[in-house]
């Protein structure tokens, strides 16, 4: 396993001060990006703060080879093979808005399925940060015909969005290991890249169990598909609460009961 660290910036200098031994050990080469993306260096500094990372098969990204619908590309990441995952950052190197979402599981597996918009063929990566501060990066290349991020959402184009905004529907499937929760929140998720339509998207969403304990936190960005649909493994829980906000301060607040 090869570790890599960016050349000194102020932040790193302080870390180095605190731990000079490990700094001496880290003078290696950057591991080659298995997806060979010209943007990887930028992704690393912007989304992983230039911190230590490793390309790791334990982080799986399941995605179609080619997007059949650039507005709704189904993505699943699974980092449950790692221990102590604090957060997972999903990014698409070649999207005009590369940040897709951040998932911070508290008591449930580090696994999530969702749909996203792709502007062109791009790596879609999931980077899981473990308790030791190291990022574990997995990814897949998804080809796409293009245009997913610069079209008006259907809700905005039809004007229907305001009558359904923030409405939540959900389904729970009981399974032997982990129950499965799927939620859908009505929201146009406008990227701000379609002419004359300002950015309008869900920013944060928390999933709590029936007792109010936090199961996972999420930060959503513009590339998440309109009316976000999220599927999670939720342990033995059968009742949930969903809380969140969009960038206009509109509240999402829903209870999922059997």
């Amino acid at each position: 396993m090869t570790l890599f660290r960016l050349p000194a910036c102020i932040l790193l200098l302080i870390i180095t001060l605190g731990n000079p031994v490990s700094a001496a050990e880290q003078s290696g080469h950057a591991p080659a990006d298995p997806l060979n993306s010209p943007q990887w260096g930028v992704m690393h500094s912007r989304f992983l703060n230039g911190e230590t990372y490793v390309f790791d098969d334990k982080v799986k990204v399941l995605a179609p080879d080619s997007a059949e619908d650039s507005l709704n590309v189904p993505i699943t990441f699974d980092a449950s093979a790692l221990q102590g995952v604090e957060k997972i950052v999903v990014m698409a190197d070649l999207n005009p808005i590369p940040g897709v979402l951040e998932f911070r599981p508290k008591t449930i597996p580090a696994r999530l399925s969702f749909r996203m918009k792709l502007q062109q063929g791009s790596p879609v990566r999931a980077a899981a940060k473990t308790a030791d501060g190291v990022w574990h990066v997995g990814g897949a290349w998804v080809d796409a015909a293009g245009g997913g991020c610069t079209l008006p959402s259907t809700g905005t184009a039809t004007g229907d969005w305001s009558s359904t905004l923030g409405k939540v529907s959900a389904n729970v499937w009981q399974r032997p290991d982990n129950n499965r929760l799927r939620v859908r929140v009505m929201h146009p998720m406008d990227t701000g890249l379609a002419s004359g339509i300002p950015t309008f998207h869900i920013e944060d969403m928390n999933i709590l169990d029936e007792s109010g304990a936090l199961l996972a936190e999420m930060t959503l960005h513009e590339p998440i598909s309109e009316n976000p649909m999220l599927s999670l493994d939720v342990g033995k829980h059968t009742g949930f609460r969903l809380e969140g906000h969009d960038n206009n301060g509109n509240r999402i607040d829903a209870e999922v009961v059997e």
């Binding site: 302080i14 305001s162 004359g196 300002p198 960038n247 206009n248 301060g249």
Partner: protein, 584 residues
Amino acid sequence: MKAERSFRQLLLALAVGCALNTTALMAAVTDDDIANDATTTNDVVSYGMGLQGQRFSPLDKLNADTVKNLVPAFVLSYGDEKQRGQEAQPLVHNGKIFVTASYSRAFAADAKTGEELWQYNHRLPDGILPCCDVVNRGGALYDNLFIFSTLDAQLVALDQDTGKVVWKEKMEDFKAGYSNTAAPIVVKGLVITGVSGGEFGIVGKVEARDAKTGKLVWSRPTVEGHMGTLDGKDNGITGETNKSWPGDLWKTGGAATWLGGTYDPDTDSLFFGTGNPAPWNSHLRPGDNLYSSSLLAIDPATGKIKWHYQWTPHDGWDFDGVNEFVSFDLKQEDGTVIKAGGHADRNGFFYVLDRTNGKLINATPFVNQITWAKGIDLKTGRPEYIDDNRPGAPEGAEKGKSVFSAPSFLGGKNWMPMAYNPNTDLFYVPANEWGMDIWNEPITYKKGAAYLGAGFTIKPLNEDYIGALRAIDPKTGKIVWEAKNNAPLWGGVLTTAGNLVFTGTPEGYLKAYDAKTGEELWKFQTGSGVVGCPTTWEQDGEQFVAVPSGWGGAVPLWGGDVAERVKHLNQGGSLWVFKLPKTS
């Protein structure tokens, strides 16, 4: 050792850097900053440039002699295909300038360079019902927040540094005709707002929320019969049910508080004007229709009405009563001072009231033609109506008798705030000379539909001008000087200790006048109509003046025959900032 010391020095430097950052973060807007806004010159933290709303700056570097040297510092374009009227007053704090724009947008820029820091585009549903253009008149600063209201009747608090939403509260249901365009004010930690929608049979109200969280503290309806609240509990009915309204009409009685209000610390009173009673057809609602077309003095702690004065009882002309009530010291000949307030009403009269009790001191015409009343009786405080000039009642399905009335419903003065200069003892009123044919029509209330029951056409009264900036002596009501303008005036006024008065014109100019004589001293063409509110401040030894530019508002939508004078005016959307360069 040496190397280690240098690392320590570096860390110390970083620590100092953090300390400086903390100081910057500490520069939050406090209640004191707002209370002192009228006298501090390095910021503008409230609508009205001080909660009394005098729009007077003690700055005098820029004055009648130096104003010729006033030059543009920058212009910030609001962008987008959305233009329309730009009626806001900018705010300045901590080196940042904040301004709202049409379609419920807000911008922050570096106040010296104009470099944009952030913008917030509020997502508006298709079904919003603004009566009179998609304007916004400005925000309020408090703590680290910039708070403004939106066309879908929401109140949004943004982080001053990032533009991110910190809290948002729904004020009312936009589908019932509510909207909001006025600038909120913050009084002792409470953000105070009104509502728009008087043309849709809404019920006006004044509300106070915790400015840091948005939590509702009190609500005071402005139509008699409706229950107020304080801390979630009933807090007494406004007025007396059915005392001045027949039947059920008070339930959709209008009296919208659509222009916000002012606050006077001397009497600890909020002063909120109320709009027309609904519907416009006055024959449906015999009585005074309290508290429509009135001024309310409200206790900011509880939302209780202390006193009221009704400008136009039983309003039948849409004269409204929302125009600002500006607190000032009325100097008597014997050297005593009366705590007074000035108000230029849509109905054409300039009023001076005792602001401790609402008693009328004087009321004089500030426009040349008034057809609906002979005058205001100083003993009773009531208008002496000319009954013939009230538009007639509809007969069956037929419209009623049409009358020609002056002023028109767009008013001797509309929303655009006047200014008071304590050095010249004059009010500077942006007045308009126009009349209207007006008649009544049958009408019934339907949620979310226009509730007027009237038809109208506005007509200019003079060939050569509609607008007239007028300097009024509040002691006598006499007009000391006037500056005429071809198109109707629709922008706010600013006056300074430099013997200057600033206002804009729909023809695109920001103009400066000599405050004593009315002589035009300076003008600048901004490229689109100026219907916003100019403001001024000092930064790093230089005096700045800012004004939004962008033609729109109610005139192009409702102006009738006035269209001839304004249809060629082009839309826009930008913030112009000027400065008087330092001379060494």
